[in-house]
Assembly symmetry: C2
Homo-oligomer: 218 residues x 2
DNA sequence: TCGCTGTAAACTGTCGACAGTTTAGGGAAC
DNA sequence: GTTCCCTAAACTGTCGACAGTTTACAGCGA
């Protein structure tokens, strides 16, 4: 009767470890001790190693031969390179969304966008979560599973890079304006406009992140 | 003195397995027996499992709980979805290449392109290798390591999908014309043109693959 | 005090074995 | 002859232990 263990130990461990990394509980630069973590999680090293390798393939960990895994700490170059990839993927997604969106998609996008604004005006605590929600809603509208999966991985790495950086309100406001413009381009079914707005939006976000990085090099 | 084993067993096994999958020695749909392969490779199951998981993260294998790994056999939907991703990545790469290429890049591109034509006129055996070489040379010119890595993975999956399909000459000729047009757009430094040519090129390749698939559904 | 060296502890890489699940095959019932 | 069930073999998931490498530290010499 108990939904016993739907996932394998290794599968569960992937989720646990991912959370530890993304929340910064395992800090960038920190090395992972296999026996220590295995004991802490109450499992053996086998499944843990599989989980570590998996997260490494997602870019959340870096493996060094005979020296184990550690959380990468990224500099400006990595941010720029990652945003080139993100831009390529999300611009394509925006264009596809403008081509394929349904009325239900547009409704959902408007809902997320409005929730962001309400949240913002109320003095939000975790606005970045809603930013992610918007981008993922847009992704659903694009109906391209392969692109969606890659965007999910890239956004995850962006979250990792953002850890330790705080969202400043003026930047949030600009982002929400971008989002609204995106919704209208998608609703209107104009792929080129949607792609171009996304490109500018991501350029703004990237610039902001680089500024945050230089003034607060973790 | 012997450069003994530069890579770990797991690392070597990744390369060996990858080759087995890409050459079709392990056919699409076929299930992988861990003990059998481990014995055949003369290693234990530990490193083999790591290699299997790694290839799964690259999309070359599919994992099913308690049922192990198997090579995915793809249908038309998968081809379409994969080419949406490939188009997003390679169009961006083409645009970046047109912005950032050096004279040396252009020279290399022309060399690869000319080698393809010579090969073709001589009645080539493995023209697809040269097609890949061209795309990778273009990728170097884009100087975007993140995009390059993702393109490498996607192209690998395309190779897997192509296994069992033969290149027909008329399609090769059209591809080479596309390549030449791409070289000129990149040499001229016109990102929009390069991106658009790449988009049309990939649309052609995709259409051809889909046609090959339906007439020869492996 | 500083730097070098050699040794020991710590850690990763690998292996073989056990436990739980899936799969295949034989036999009974219809 | 067909279907269902039951049993046994095969296979994946997990664990603990050993081997080789890396890292830290104590001791020695300058």
């Amino acid at each position: 009767m108990t939904p016993p263990l739907r996932l394998s130990l290794a599968g569960q461990t992937v989720d646990v470890l991912r959370e530890l990394v993304l929340t910064g509980e395992i800090a960038p630069g920190e090395r992972l001790n296999e026996v220590g973590i295995a004991e802490r999680l109450g499992i053996s090293r086998g499944p843990l190693r599989e989980a570590i390798r998996h997260l490494a393939s997602e870019g959340l960990l870096v493996l060094v031969p005979h020296r184990g895994a550690h959380v990468p700490k990224a500099g400006a170059d990595e941010v720029r390179a990652l945003f080139e990839l993100r831009t390529a993927l999300e611009c394509a997604a925006a264009e596809l969304a403008a081509s394929r969106r349904t009325d239900a998609d547009v409704t959902r996008l408007r809902e997320v966008s409005e929730e962001s604004r309400r949240n913002y005006q109320a003095g939000a605590r975790f606005p970045y979560r809603l930013d992610l929600a918007f981008h993922r809603t847009l992704l659903e509208a694009a109906r391209s599973p392969q692109i969606a999966e890659q965007v999910r991985l890239v956004q995850q790495r962006v979250v990792l890079l953002r850890s330790g950086l705080d969202d400043d309100p003026p930047h949030q406001r600009a982002s929400m304006d971008d989002h609204d413009a995106l919704v209208e381009a998608v609703a209107g079914g104009v792929p080129d406009a949607a792609g171009e707005i996304m490109r500018r939006h991501l350029a703004r976000v990237r610039t902001q992140m680089l500024a945050d990085l230089t003034e607060n090099p973790s």
